[in-house]
Structures are given as structure tokens and as C-alpha cells.
């Protein structure tokens, strides 16, 4: 089997500090595809759960930031999950100085290739220019990655992925967004 491809700011869970608070959810992609607002419901719930790690006067702000980030990753995972009747996983971990959100799912090779392009652009291009370009072309065909651009541009999110080819031609995809707690407050 080929080696995994690691792009951007991806941290193996075993290498990071232990989590103070953590939640893992296993969801069926088809449930989200059939009722898209479930992505928002799950994101809001997880965000509210983690907001209690923050001071009372900043909890509302924390819910807003965390929900935006979780929803973005969850929507992408549901859209690009290859086996819609299979499960995707989302985890949120608060490590004290940062909150790390991660999704795990399978994806078709074409999806992985397009996603690699989106991540590569995030690392290279000027974010305001990239954002303006994506807004201008968002109605055109193809993956826009606009949500990830916003997370990086507005919240200083560090974004990374680990892409592992599988024997069946599909890929195991892990996507991480790490937010400094200062950006979450």
C-alpha cells in the first residue's frame, strides 16, 4: 500500500498533548445528506458543549467560532464521503491552548485530488486575493474551498490533512482544523 500523504498543519493524535475535553461522534453521511441542517445541529451542539471550557463572558463568541469551524468540516465530510451509508467521524479536542477539530471518512480518488489542490492553494496564495477570487467564481463548477479560506483568513485556523490510499482504490481522509483559543474567544 502506498504511503500516506500529509498536507499542511496536520498533527497525529499520538504526537499532540493530551486533550482536556474531547468528544467523538460517528454519523452516517446519508443522514446528513438527506437533512442538510443536521450538519448545523451537530456543529451547534458540539460547539455549545465545548463553550463551557471558556469563561462565561466569551462563551457565546466561542459557540459562534467553533460551530462555524465544525460545520465546515462536517459538511465537507458529508459531501465527499464515498460511502454514504457508511459512517464518518468527527472529533473535537480541547488541548488547553488550542481546539482541534478533525473529520475522518473515505473519499473517491478524484475528490482527493481536487481537495489536494484546494489545500495547496491555501498554503500558497494570498488569502484576501484567494477569497475574492473564489467569491467571484463560486457559482462555477468545481470545488471552491471557500469555507476553509474563511476559517484561515478570519480565525487564523491551521488546516491540514492526512490522505491514505486504500487497497480498494478509495482513500481514507483525515482533515484537521486547529484553532488557537485566543481566536475562539
Amino acid at each position: 500500500m502506498s504511503e500516506a500523504i500529509v498536507i499542511g498543519d496536520f498533527v497525529d493524535a499520538a504526537d499532540g498533548p493530551p486533550a482536556m475535553t474531547s468528544v467523538e461522534l460517528k454519523l452516517r453521511a446519508l443522514d446528513l445528506v438527506a437533512q442538510w441542517k443536521r450538519c448545523g445541529v451537530a456543529a451547534d451542539s458540539l460547539a455549545a458543549y465545548f463553550a463551557y471550557d471558556f469563561e462565561p463572558d466569551v462563551r457565546a463568541a466561542a459557540v459562534g467560532v467553533l460551530s462555524t469551524a465544525i460545520n465546515e468540516l462536517l459538511e465537507n465530510a458529508a459531501k465527499f464521503c464515498a460511502d454514504k451509508r457508511g459512517s464518518l467521524e468527527v472529533s473535537v479536542r480541547h488541548h488547553g491552548e488550542l481546539v482541534r477539530i478533525e473529520t475522518r471518512h473515505t473519499a473517491a480518488a478524484g475528490r482527493v485530488l481536487a481537495f489536494q489542490g484546494v489545500l495547496a492553494e491555501l498554503g500558497r496564495a494570498s488569502l484576501p486575493e484567494l477569497f475574492a477570487e473564489r467569491i467571484e467564481h463560486q457559482k462555477e463548477p468545481g470545488a471552491s474551498g471557500i469555507g476553509l479560506i474563511i476559517l484561515k483568513k478570519d480565525y487564523g485556523a491551521r488546516i491540514g490533512a492526512r490522505l491514505q490510499p486504500r487497497a480498494d482504490g478509495q482513500w481514507d481522509v483525515q482533515v484537521q482544523v486547529s484553532l488557537d483559543v485566543e481566536e475562539v474567544r
Binding site: 446519508l30 446528513l32 445528506v33 438527506a34 437533512q35 442538510w36 441542517k37 458529508a78 459531501k79 454514504k84 451509508r85 463560486q138 457559482k139 462555477e140 463548477p141
Partner: protein, 213 residues
């Protein structure tokens, strides 16, 4: 195939999950009861469903908008345009644009394709018992639909259904994997008693039928 209109919440969910699986895989569409955004590929669910069951398993289904049709919401089709076509067809005053419905999201289970279920379900969904479901018998609804041109020709017209072109359908991101400049979409009108053959329109639902490939 056993045909019946979805009545229970379990029936509706079966249809929605089949449609979601097919349309997400083929066209990357996702669904919502109460919101839509065609540029984000979020589509509104139909209101009613016709189920096609073989050996008690759902193998295909069709959705029906009974209000806020896709054609009027996204196709920029006005009641005036529809009424003009109804008059031209000779369907006035029995039919009027104010009473319209739209069939949508024909879906066949991927492992059940090649049996003729899609064409049969399209024809069967023209049945009065589905199109006019929950309506008053003396106030029938006309049917509107949108599709890419190739499907009118390979699915609708071979079933004997006459379609009347209303206007081209605008281009949305949600259709990027469905239509193309070479095979564009348009909105069309079907006047039930004039354009649907009796073998479809008068077909009793619920009922059991042989499906020919």
C-alpha cells in the same frame, strides 16, 4: 411492481433516503425540508412520494411538489406564461396555472437498474391517483416539470407523454453535473387529460403491475 403513495413517515423517509443516495452520488445534491440554496446544491424536498416496491422492497420512487414548484421558484416561470400555454392547448378553463404540481427526483435503486423501472415509474407517476392526490376531483392540477432535453426524448416522449415547452431553465451550480450547454434544461407543461395517455392517467394506485423492460 406494487405502486402506492407514501402515507406514513416511514414511507416518506424510505423515499427520501433513496433519492438522497441517488442524487448525491450522481449530482452532489443535498436536501432540506425548510431551506434551499441551488448554488450550494441544497434542494427542497418534494411534498409527496410515489413508491415502487418489488418483493416489498422499495426499488424506485418519484417525488411531487404540490406547492412552490421548482419551475416557478427557480425556473422564473410565471402563471401568465403557463395560462397562455393552457389556453393554446385547449385546456382552459378546466385547467389553470393556479393549480399546478410538479413531479421530480425520479430515483431507481442502483442495484435494481436495467429492469425498466425508471420508465415505468415515470409513466405511473402520471396517474390521476398520484398527480391529483388530496385534490378536489373537479379542480384538477396541471403538471409542470423541468428536465434536460435528452430525458424528454428518451424517457417522457417514448412513454407517450406530450410535453409543451414553457421556457429554458436558468443555469444553476446545482445542475453542473446534470445538464450542459449541449443538453440544456427547460421547463415544460403537461395538461393531464390532453397530454397523458389513459393507460397512465387512469391507472389505479395503489395497484400491482407487470413491468416490461
Amino acid at each position: 411492481m406494487a405502486l402506492r403513495v407514501a402515507r406514513t413517515r416511514g414511507d416518506v423517509l424510505q423515499c427520501q433516503y433513496l433519492i438522497a443516495e441517488v442524487y448525491n452520488k450522481e449530482y452532489e445534491v443535498v436536501f432540506s425540508d425548510d431551506s434551499y440554496d441551488l448554488d450550494a446544491k441544497v434542494e427542497p424536498w418534494p411534498h409527496r412520494y410515489l413508491m415502487g416496491l418489488v418483493d416489498d422492497q422499495l426499488v424506485c420512487c418519484m417525488g411531487l411538489y404540490v406547492r412552490q414548484t421548482y419551475v416557478e421558484r427557480f425556473g422564473n416561470v410565471s402563471d401568465e406564461e403557463i395560462d397562455a400555454l393552457i389556453r393554446e392547448s385547449g385546456g382552459s378553463p378546466r385547467f389553470a396555472a393556479a393549480r399546478k404540481r410538479e413531479i421530480t427526483k425520479l430515483s431507481v435503486r442502483p442495484d435494481q437498474r436495467g429492469h425498466g423501472y425508471g420508465g415505468f415509474m415515470l409513466g405511473a407517476s402520471m396517474a390521476r391517483d398520484f398527480l391529483q392526490v388530496d385534490g378536489a376531483p373537479d379542480e384538477p392540477h396541471i403538471l409542470v416539470a423541468c428536465s434536460k432535453r435528452s430525458l424528454w426524448d428518451v424517457l417522457w416522449h417514448p412513454a407517450g407523454i406530450r410535453t409543451r415547452v414553457i421556457k429554458p431553465f436558468p443555469i444553476y451550480k446545482v445542475h453542473e453535473r446534470y445538464s450542459s450547454p449541449q443538453d440544456p434544461m427547460d421547463s415544460r407543461l403537461v395538461v393531464p387529460e390532453l397530454d397523458i395517455p389513459p393507460r397512465w392517467y387512469d391507472r389505479p394506485i395503489p395497484g400491482e403491475y407487470e413491468v416490461e423492460r
